[in-house]
Amino acid sequence: MNEIQTSALPFTVLGGFLGSGKTTLLNRLLNLTKETRYAVLVNDFGELNIDERLIEAHDGETIALANGCMCCSMADGFVSALTAVMERADQFDQMIVEASGVSNPGRIMDIAKLDPGLSPNGAIVLVDATQFLNQLNDSLIKDAVLTQVKEADILLINKAHLTDQSTLETIKETLDTQNSDCTTLINDRPVVDPGPLFGSIDTAILKRRETLALVDKKGTAEHDHDHTHDQFHSCVLRQIKPIDRSTFESWATTLPPSVIRGKGLISFTESPHQQWIWQKVGRTYDLESSSGASGQSSMVVLIGTKEMPVESDPVIYGPFLKQ
């Protein structure tokens, strides 16, 4: 199981109601990516207008991109498209499912929770700032919209500049009531760099115990550094002695919502020579024993919004060494 864990394909669900901007975000991601090869399961070919210059081959239900990415239509059904990608899992670094405008991202993410070939990498749900409050007044769709918000690991408010400040505040309050411990970002002026949002942190980097530079190189994907550093912060935390498990868990569960992602190899006092892989996306976190790694020390990488507290804040460093 643990060996599979390290080779499991990170699985991200992109949700949000009709018109919330899923396709635009995906296109941006596919245009910007240089190293990460995404396999994207899309809802409808007719609606994903991929930049012609990126397309290398178009074969039935799939479009291959020159940068190694692939788009696969779900016209044949989700399971069929999923199976097609998993048969070629070694050709990709990540799988993204663009959920339909009415589907519950949590039920799609369940697949990754069950299948050892996949590892949950978060449900990102887009909220349309211009429509959200109207949607909550429409009995035909209110329940679907709220379900998506409740199931999100990361909420991204889109089109904020097309609405006024007080509406935006009301939206934020509503989102906070529905899903209080989830990271909420505003994707507007500047638009959010999608790489770090989708990016998983590569376990191999943690094993190498090197610095943040490496994490940036592969883990948080490729992006314009100057630009991104305004939007996202990251930090590496270490501890040379085994950590008390309950201390760790209480730290992990009280990390502020501004911490978007975290991943680490942890040693606990209860079994000091065994290491555990810890992974957090939004409010979802996962702890699994690792057979591939041993040692008494621990290391985690955190990626957050610019609101994430600094490394010297005890909320952040917790049971790790103060920087």
Binding site: G77, D110, D115, A144
Partner: protein, 550 residues
Amino acid sequence: MTSSTTIFAAKTILTMNSYQPVATHVAVRDGRILGAGSLDELAHWGDYTLNEIFADKVLVPGFVEAHCHAMNGSAWDNTYVGFFDRTDPDGRLWPGIKTLDGVIERLIEIERTLDDPNQTLVAWGFDPIYFDDGVRMTLEHLDQVSRERRIMVQHSNGHLLNASRKVIELAGITSSTDVEGVMKDDSGQPTGELGEMAAQFMAYKVTDDVRRFDGINTNDLWTFAKTATNVGVTTATDLHARVEDQNIQAYVEATTSADYPLRLVPAAGALTMSIQDGPSHVAQLKQHNNDKLYLGLCKIMTDGSIQGFTGRLKWPGYINGKPNGIWNLPPQTLTEMVEAYHAAGLQMHMHTNGDEASELMINAIEAALHKYPRPDHRHTLTHCQMADEAQFRRMAQLGICSNLFANHIYYWGDQHYSLTMGPDRATRMDACGTAKRLGVPYTIHSDAPVTPLDPLFTAWCAVNRQTASGRVLGSNECIEVQDALHAITLGAAFTLHLDHLVGSIESGKFADFAVLEDDPTGVPAEALKDIPVWGTVVGGIPRPASQQNH
């Protein structure tokens, strides 16, 4: 070459044509009906051969099933463990199993016959909601069959399955699995019952049964036709068809065979195509049509099912307080879809179970009609199970037809009474009486394989409205036998825009008949479903049912 005329003699012929409702003879030339009447009257057509094989039988127009599916011919490769009797395509009756112990016994029998330990035992049609004690199947039950074999028992609703211990182990499902759809017992252990896509996906994955959809093939279509012939059906829809070349090829190949005993009406699934490309694609499919193939119809899926609590209901919702159901696409997208297919001049059958779904589609059609006025569109709400009187009135005004799921009254009527709609609204479900009274053209259906294909049974449901437990659900919505016969012949043909070709025994139409052993208008209404079917006549050629071989 001069065409020859055959005159079939029958005990009675119910023509469903109003200028001559009853006859004794029908004359056929070139696969079409010359006319019906007495032998003397038909002799005016000149030389003929008299065929008396039906001299003691009753001929009615070949039944038209406007909502069924051609897939699942292969279901019978697996073991049937349903509560109700079911007949396979070869005409063999599989008695329903009334207890969980009985189901386990049948599985043990089948397990003993399997030589290869790696073969997955698959059973289908299981439905514990009918068991008196409400007992559910667990891993312990399937342990009695085998602890080592992969076993999958699919429930009749299509949304649940029970997996054996081997499957659960291989899928890595344990007490710590925290995923919707994995049922657990009081001690937190998985019971083997799996719902929801993720849990089922894993079970199928470890049984090597995750197949890519490979569409329909000619074998499926021949099995389907055999099933149809057994119950008197001569025209049937495949009401959610995929439109890939290989599928179309299969339809063409089957229907161009002179021996193929069924007229097929595949309805292209609009949700499998983009709104931009779908309408022109479906319109182009019509070029493949022949006397037995009618492409061009479209199917729109809106909500889920009522008994699965996924149907979209208007206020006050489900009587047990469950949250409202799901849409297959955002309502706005469904509305745009209706406009696009309507504007392209195509006809749609819309799956609507709950009354909110019906309302959305009525609104969408009304809006499309304002924008693109079009007489005689015959868009049809299929299932249309909960439509209220105001909705039926609007349907009448807008020219919308209904295809009501009469079989539901028998199979799930008791559940609708107690769990989903409650006694009040359950009495108006599948309201044939209201449709008739308010002038909404209607037919009734089986949604086979969801319930068995058998129009006489479906007619019996609409006439008697009796549930599985024997309760009469809404006697005011019962219709007369004559109305029900119309619904399964001309009524269905009308909703398919085929009433000029099939649906009655009338000069100029295809010589398609259902051959019955008794007169449906001469037996008690309760016995309608028990009338034996000899087989069919399609294009003038007699096609005996499989049960004739038994």
